[in-house]
């Protein structure tokens, strides 16, 4: 089981909170797609023939891709990789790109799952985040893609923004639920270093974020989604039964994946690597037949820590048998011992060979993970 991630590093405008890698100038777009096509060939052996189960177009803004771009990319992937008969193929789209033409292009392509960057249905919120779309586009695009037949659908929502009261947050969640969307990714707004938001807060132009609000809105979210029949299967992800993101789940299961395009990350059991985060340099290097990347070999401890970190984010939790088999009995015993305080406080539970976080533990997944790390 393996996945392919394709990074499309362009956006129409920069959202204030965003620290993904992208460029707002489309000048290099055609050159970049050509380079991407070349990279697919250069990396054809990365997955050593493993069956590709999932493909994910992320960004940036993959909905900026033209019909021709998509065709070429899919043809090239098909040529060099073995694709399963039932792949999950997701594409991230922004509401302002989802007009009738674009939707039909996507529908006629192999893409079978959309992930829409809605973030909020409230105008003021969208302005605060400097999103390229407005509230009307946010609601309209959902009906459009659903009626075009995209049934497997995710939307992203952000909570914890200064203008977002609990009522407004619940309105957003209700809108999600009314539309019978199958999957939700919900994120607390975080201030990443060197973003516009970071700058505004540091210079006093924006108010600082309130973590009490973020916490209470996450609790609201968890309650709402449980009552609405969604499974909270990962810290920031909720799905109707059978509708989990297969691609993202593979990240949390430690599966191998190949990342293509600038800044994309790849993983094999004992190493991670990432392409250079610079469009011009990426294009230039690929042209000479060399993938511009850096690689990090993971020590056993690092592999252990990663395994803990990703597993604890999920409902399936840490498989204790895997800990024992991969890392040895001693590490297993240490882990169980160190988890006792969290089990006592009700934040963790150990059951049938699995150690995992309870909902209250999910709220603090990072802190608990750090405490269970080995050094």
């Amino acid at each position: 089981m393996a996945g392919i991630y394709i990074h499309i590093p362009f956006c129409k405008q920069a959202c204030h909170y965003c620290n993904f890698f992208f460029s707002t100038s489309l000048k290099l777009k055609n050159d970049l797609i050509s380079a991407l096509i070349l990279e697919i060939e250069l990396q054809k052996n990365f997955l050593s023939g493993e069956m590709v189960e999932t493909i994910y177009f992320g960004g940036g803004t993959p909905s900026l891709l033209s019909e021709k771009d998509l065709d070429e990319i899919f043809n090239q992937i098909q040529k060099h990789f073995t694709i399963s008969s039932d792949p999950e193929i997701t594409l991230e789209a922004n509401p302002d790109d989802l007009n009738a033409d674009n939707i039909s292009i996507l529908k006629n392509s192999p893409v079978n799952r959309l992930s829409i960057g809605i973030q909020s249905f409230h105008e003021a919120d969208l302005k605060y985040m400097n999103r390229a779309h407005n509230a009307i586009e946010a609601s309209d695009c959902i009906e459009k893609v659903q009626s075009a037949g995209f049934e497997n659908l995710n939307i992203d929502l952000i909570y914890g923004t200064p203008g977002l009261s609990d009522e407004l947050w619940l309105e957003n969640l209700n809108k999600f639920h009314e539309n019978k969307i199958t999957h939700l990714s919900a994120y607390a707004l975080t201030v990443e270093e060197s973003t516009a938001l970071d700058h505004f807060i540091k210079t006093g132009k924006s108010q600082a974020l309130n973590d009490e609000q973020a916490r209470s809105q996450m609790i609201l979210l968890m309650d709402f989604m449980r009552h609405s029949g969604y499974e909270h299967y990962e810290v920031s992800n909720f799905a109707l039964p059978g509708k989990r993101s297969r691609h993202n789940s593979s990240y949390w299961k430690g599966a191998a994946y190949l990342g293509l395009g600038p800044a994309a990350h790849s993983h094999q059991s004992n190493f991670r690597q990432w392409n250079i985060a610079n469009n011009a340099k990426y294009i230039q290097s690929i042209k000479t037949g060399k993938v511009p990347m850096e690689r990090e070999i993971l020590s056993e401890i690092q592999q252990y820590n990663e395994f803990l970190m990703v597993s604890l984010r999920t409902v399936w939790g840490i498989d204790l048998k895997i800990i024992e088999e991969r890392f040895g009995k001693e590490k297993l015993e240490d882990l169980l011992l160190n988890s006792i305080p969290f089990q006592n406080s009700g934040k963790m539970i150990q059951n049938q060979g699995v150690l995992k976080l309870n909902p209250t533990g999910m709220l603090e997944a990072d802190r608990i993970t750090a405490e269970l790390f080995l050094d």
Partner: protein, 596 residues
């Protein structure tokens, strides 16, 4: 022996000692050009990072002069006040001193104090105006200052540059012609002074010595005169870029000795080495014990490491004879050591060296000077830590150490310096114009007021021009109180401080504010209070932490996130649990950063 010259380089901080040493090492080909770097002798990481010399460093050079061959033993010394003990021990191994004065700065406070140290030992002084290549060099003005200070002739002052190498030949001539060769008799019984030592995990203790009489051979059965300990000389040699073993080291020379001793307390800097079978009659006068100026508790972060800390301190002390320590206990921190330092930089360096050289992360309690407390029952108690202080009802008076501070600066900064000193409870005792552009101000100030941030403030007020030297003049009564810090109502003795009554409240407020910044939010509300006796004078609260933002985590986030969490976990290891509150290592030194 008549071709030996033993000398040190002394100066105010940054006047270019180590850089000039580079030129001497280069000209004598002691160091190959491949191995030569800037300030080659500053070989400790900490020295290189900070750009200052911390340890004296001895090195031997060969020099050919016409058909004569000379051997020079050079000792480069530090310039910072906190390390003046290094200078005084180096001086005891020499017959001469190169006194550098920066041509752009002129004579500064430690120029004078180091000069006097050298004159006390009758060293031949060779004055050198250094950095003459610089645009701002005021050669004649500085020459006048030197003539005034030591009463030499103008032609005896050498103009040089450690950067360009100008004047280096003249320096070699002066070393040969003006510094006397060592006296002493190679046929007399061995008499060698240990002026420094260090610990090496393979070789054990290494002692650096200067031989005054006799000689030492590999395999000799030797004896330390003061401690009476006896050992075999496993290896003796001289100090070049590396240690170079020799069969014999003779009178007048500087060298090293390895006996295989692994226990640090078996050897003492200042002791005399002699031969068991044919001992010298007298020990050489050792060194005066240094009086620490500042005291602070050092505690292992992990309380199980107490014995390791003791061992590390012992080994460090071999290489830092000015460090003192004795065990103490703290309610908050458990077992640790009360250590004495020559100043705050010294404290900081010790803490860093423990961490880097011995992998020993420590928590340092609030530093303070030593007080004398006189009780109503007429007892006299020396207070090295606030918890030594008896109940206030028992205290008749407390006395604190005063210093005489000499500040040399430009007249235009006099006003600013005066207000600083007055703010620090000092008073002016003298003001002398050394020249039209240089004034010397003398103050009497409580030592406690200058140990923390005085020097930084002085530097900023005088735009870097003022230099400062001080010595203790005695104990005087003061209105001193103990300020306690409470975390959630529990007194944290490691954060208590002795402070003047008039400053206690504002100090308490700043302390609470700073701790609020440094202590992370925890699962519960934390109250930080400052109290004098039972009276609360300041309070801050840290609200409970509710959510550590558990952010998203997809394929491209995993590496970064793992590293972030690993760092978070490491950060936690540098914390100490006090009551139920986790306090980070830096919080204990909060007092030093109150004004940041």
């Amino acid at each position: 022996m008549k071709n030996y010259r033993n000398f040190c380089i002394i100066a105010h901080i940054d006047h270019g000692k180590s850089t000039l040493a580079d030129r001497l090492l280069e000209s004598t080909k002691t160091v190959s050009s491949r191995d030569l770097q800037e300030q080659t002798l500053d070989n400790m990481d900490l020295e290189r990072e900070r750009g200052i010399t911390i340890k004296s460093h001895a090195i031997q050079m060969d020099f050919e002069h016409g058909k004569d061959k000379y051997v020079f033993n050079l000792i480069d010394t530090p310039g910072h006040v906190d390390f003046s003990y290094e200078v005084s021990r180096s001086i005891a191994a020499c017959e001469g001193a190169l006194l550098l004065v920066d041509a752009t700065q002129g004579i500064q406070a430690q120029t004078i104090s180091n000069l006097y140290l050298a004159m006390d030992h009758d060293l031949e002084i060779i004055p050198i105006i250094n950095k003459v290549d610089m645009d701002g060099a005021m050669i004649e003005e500085v020459a006048d200052q030197i003539i005034d200070l030591i009463g030499v002739n103008r032609e005896d002052i050498i103009e040089a540059s450690g950067k360009t190498g100008v004047g280096v030949d003249l320096i070699f001539d002066a070393i040969i012609n003006r510094i006397p060769c060592p006296k002493g008799d190679p046929e007399e019984p061995l008499q060698a002074l240990i002026f420094d030592s260090m610990f090496n995990s393979y070789r054990g203790v290494i002692a650096y010595f200067r031989i005054f009489n006799g000689k030492i051979k590999k395999g000799d059965k030797i004896k330390f005169v003061n401690t009476g300990n006896e050992y075999f000389a496993d290896e003796v040699g001289i100090l070049r870029m590396d240690m170079e073993p020799r069969a014999t080291v003779g009178a007048g020379d500087v060298g090293y000795l390895i006996t295989g001793i692994k226990e640090s307390q078996m050897i003492k800097v200042g002791d005399t080495i002699t031969i068991k079978e044919n001992p010298c009659e007298q020990a050489i006068d050792g060194f005066e014990d240094v009086k620490p100026m500042v005291f602070a508790g050092l505690y292992p972060i992990d309380s199980d490491d107490f014995e390791d800390l003791r061992e590390s301190l012992g080994k460090l002390q071999l290489n830092d004879a000015s460090l003192t320590y004795e065990p103490e206990t703290s309610l908050a921190l458990g077992f640790g050591f009360r250590c004495g330092f020559l100043g705050m930089l010294h404290l900081e360096i010790v803490q860093e060296r423990l961490d880097r050289e011995f992998d020993m992360a420590v928590i340092t309690t609030v530093p303070q000077v030593s007080y004398d407390c006189f009780t109503t029952r007429k007892e006299h108690i020396v207070i090295h830590t606030p918890s030594d202080l008896p109940d206030p009802s028992m205290i008749e008076r407390i006395e604190e150490p005063y210093i005489k501070a000499q500040i040399i600066s430009k007249p235009e900064f006099t006003g600013g310096i005066m207000s600083l000193c007055i703010d620090k409870r000092g008073f002016l005792t003298n003001q002398v114009y050394l020249s039209e552009t240089r004034v010397e101000l003398s103050f009497e100030i409580p030592l406690a007021e200058i140990v923390f941030d005085f020097y930084d403030k002085l530097k900023s007020i005088s735009k870097g021009y003022a230099s400062f030297d001080y010595h203790i003049i005695g104990m005087r009564p003061g209105k001193l109180v103990k300020l306690d810090i409470l975390l959630n109502g529990e007194k944290v003795d490691a954060l208590s401080a002795m402070i003047h009554r008039d400053k206690a409240e504002s100090f308490g407020r700043k302390m609470c504010k700073k701790l609020r910044e440094l202590i992370n939010r925890q699962q519960f509300v934390i109250a930080i209070q400052a109290a004098i006796g039972s009276k609360i004078v300041a309070r801050e609260t840290i609200s409970a932490f509710r959510k550590d933002v558990t952010a998203k985590c997809y394929g491209g986030d995993i590496s970064r996130k793992r590293k972030l969490l690993e760092k978070q976990k490491k950060g936690k290891k540098r914390m100490r649990q006090v009551g139920n509150v986790e306090v980070p290592q830096q919080a204990f030194l909060a007092v030093l950063k109150l004004d940041d």
